[in-house]
């Protein structure tokens, strides 16, 4: 699923002016800005219920309308962005740190015991349908944001482990590694000082893409009632609740979904843009 191999490298152009990156940057910017702003300002307190004002369509007073408890949907979506980003950060951070570490460890002795153990486990985790794993984890540990982060984080692990291992194995074959070894550095020191910097670029690109997937996964889990719990607003759960009122108040089902789509699209495009930037360097380094 890599980008079209044939798309010609565009070294002349500065990567941060590419359309993917620019659009991605703008979309994620909107989401991040909304999330940050929500700490200091929302039109209404997001959990304030005005039952008599329930199920109102979008208007000048409630821009995105109100839900079944008379809460302001716009405010809820702003705070919901916070939750989505937090889950994304947590889950990707978890997968990145643990996955990269494991990947680097595996690369030290290629085809050794550790390598096989780590890679088989990664394959194994990968083989489980993602949502199923998450459902099982939340069924055992109870639904909630933290458990959702762990569940999604575990799903992220194999991606980072495989990627880190793949790049690291190539790095280990280089001359300067031999030099480092001759200088008396041990495997871990070499991994940290020489291998990790070479792996970092690819990992960052992958992290952006995984971030988009994590937001999508969190929305799915929340939709099933397994993610972020009330009264914390969450886009996925808002959609779940909206479904009941779809015939009466269709707007409720439109806005949270659009927010998810914008966030995911934004991070995907951002990742594509970054990859365009990193790819040439990777090619050079090969």
């Amino acid at each position: 699923m890599t980008r079209a191999g044939a798309s010609a490298p565009v070294p002349a152009k500065r990567w941060w002016t590419g359309p993917s990156f620019l659009i991605g940057f703008a979309l994620t910017g909107v989401i991040v800005a909304g999330a940050l702003l929500s700490y200091v300002w929302t039109p209404y307190p997001p959990t304030q219920m005005m039952i008599l004002n329930r199920l109102k369509p979008p208007s000048a007073t409630n821009w995105f309308g109100t839900d079944q408890f008379g809460r302001d949907v716009f405010s809820m979506i702003m705070v919901g962005a916070r939750n989505s980003l937090a889950v994304g950060l947590g889950a990707v951070g978890f997968g990145l740190v643990l996955g990269t570490t494991l990947g680097l460890l595996a690369a030290i002795r290629r085809d050794g015991f550790l390598d096989n153990l780590i890679m088989r486990t990664a394959d194994f985790t990968h083989a489980f349908p993602a949502v199923l794993t998450a459902i099982m984890i939340t069924a055992i540990a109870g639904p909630g944001m933290l458990n959702a982060i762990v569940a999604i984080g575990i799903l992220n692990l194999p991606y980072f482990a495989r990627l880190a291992r793949g790049v690291a194995i190539q790095v280990w074959t280089r001359d300067y590694i031999q030099a480092a070894r001759a200088a008396g550095l041990d495997n871990v020191q070499i991994s940290v000082r020489h291998v990790l910097p070479n792996v970092a670029g690819v990992i960052v690109v992958q992290a952006t893409i995984q971030f988009a997937l994590a937001i999508l996964a969190e929305a799915g889990l929340s939709y099933l009632g397994l993610g972020t719990q009330p009264p914390n607003p969450s886009w996925g759960r808002m959609l779940n609740e909206a479904q009941t009122f779809m015939a009466v108040q269709p707007w409720l089902a439109i806005f949270p979904g659009a927010a998810i789509a914008i966030a995911v699209l934004g991070f995907n495009l951002l990742g594509d843009g970054l990859r365009d930037a990193i790819d040439p360097r990777l090619r050079r380094s090969r």
Binding site: F128, P129, I135, A139, I140, Y223, Q243, G257, I260
Partner: protein
Amino acid sequence: MLSFLARRCVALVATLLGAALVIFVALEVLPGDPAAVTLGLNAAPEALAALRLEMGLDKPAPVRFLAWISGILTGDLGLSYTYRVPVAQLIGERMAVTLPLALAAIILATSIGVPLGLLAAANHNRPTDAAVMIFAQLGLAVPNFWFGLLLVLLFAIGLGWFPAGGFPGWQAGPAAAVKALLLPAFALALPQAAILARVTRSSMLDTLQEDFVRTARAKGLAEPVTVVRHALRNALIPVVTIMGLQFSVLIAGAIIIENVFALPGLGRLVFQSITQHDLIVVKDLVMLFAGLAILVNFAVELVYGLIDPRLREAS
């Protein structure tokens, strides 16, 4: 060659056993007593004990694990705690919804994604290409359950052409059943179509660079003929692979989509069973899903290993 096969097979069996163990242990940890769920708030302790005995919950865990594994091997999946019928029968009934749904989604995704990808490749760097890539980006970004909700909003609530959810059963006639499955199949197919469009496009572009295509062109064959006769076949190999690997994604999607559309399929069954603590069904279903995904991965790896000796060495 044979050692490669043998190694892979050992790994397969180990993975499957590992999966079974993980699932079993996970469900052992799950809090809640299935007997208490069946008998409700006022159940007497004697009744609970009797039911636990009947459900075989009194035996130690290792014994139950072995009994479960040998049951699977002999085709006996046990008796559902909730419905008191064989799990195999339950899975069979629900399969009649999920299988057609997944098939329909694959067919839809292929018939949308592949032609779009080819179209984009044929019009490389032109507006059509850009449009397809935008579609693909959107398809990947839109959560399929939200797309499902939008379809319901438009075609069920707005226009009234399709039911908003539920499944009339195949005995209500194929027309009604297909009608109930069409919207969910579309929702399930969207991200797959987007992925397939991207993969087809890049694979096609790669193939068009290859020597044999250039030769064909040099021979003066007309462009569409070149594309169809030579490039397409080769370009589709990675596409088919991706379709295989996307299988587990499709299953996962079905779990959510079946809940959106209230379809009595396997995905909803697994979700309901967890809710009702019907642990036998959960165990069997998760094993089924995981086993299928593991087998598909195995098959893909095997085929790749056979085609490409380098991979044999590498892994």
